[in-house]
Symmetry: C2
DNA sequence: CTAGTTGCAAAGCATTTGCCTGTGG
DNA sequence: CCACAGGCAAATGCTTTGCAACTAG
């Protein structure tokens, strides 16, 4: 075993590439179905199984991270996007998920004595600007 | 149509009651499987379908609310517990989910201009007191 | 050439529904 | 008595896996 870095995909395929491009192109968290739909435009015969396999692989390689939206199927976004600590906003009208930079902090103070905080995730819900204007 | 209130279970059955008791007994968010396991002690032949049917009914009647834990199956807790604004802590060692009262606030300030905040959910993760002490 | 990859289809899981029997009121 | 509920099993819907064929290196 010569290299141990997490970021080594063994082979470069057009499917794998198309899936990765889907992330780059969107700039926001994507569900497996959205990825599949997008990547299929580049690689017509692309199967759902391949999408899932690559998502898990990318996840193990820490190139993407899962984004959990309450009541919604999981989405994924690039690790680069996740580097900057941020949270998510789910528009209940158009369904899109947006990255929200910043964090209120002070969460550890809410915990009972003895509890150790490792990580946290904040999901906001409401209407994005576009949908907010449209519904007025 | 004479009554329209949301809290109308049509009939009082032992299964329904056992499921409800499971919530009362635990005092923390429970997964369908946990509910089933607990309620089955009171009603041996209780089927999973009945648990799910009752959960959905209780949810419609607004007597329980879903609790989404990132990467975990949904849990549910009593509406009474949910009345006091609170969040959740998932112990990554023992797997239990705890209610955390309080909220850091200031979330709306993080949103881009034009975004409207309707609701939010905060999931914390780490070690609860018991597991924290044990691992030291 | 050779092993990592893909597609398809079948297998898994968790949740929902259909249908007929049981029972609360 | 009779419609609501429950039990069982089949049906979903989403994700994973098995396997033979394919292809990047």
């Amino acid at each position: 075993m010569s290299h141990q870095t997490p970021g080594r995909s063994q082979r470069q395929t057009q499917q794998r590439d198309a899936i990765w491009q889907a992330f780059k192109a969107s700039g926001r968290p994507m569900s497996p179905a959205e990825i599949h739909e997008h990547a299929q435009q580049a690689v017509p015969g692309l199967g759902m199984a391949t999408v899932y396999r690559n998502l898990r692989k990318l996840e193990r390689e820490e190139r993407i991270v899962p984004v959990h939206v309450p009541g919604e199927p999981d989405r994924y976004e690039t690790a680069k996007a996740a580097e900057a600590h941020h949270h998510h906003f789910h528009c209940e009208v158009c369904g899109k998920v947006y990255d929200i930079t910043g964090c209120p902090g002070g969460l550890a103070d809410l915990l009972p004595k003895g509890f150790e905080l490792t990580a946290h995730e904040i999901s906001m819900r409401g209407r994005c600007e576009a949908c907010s204007l449209a519904s007025e």
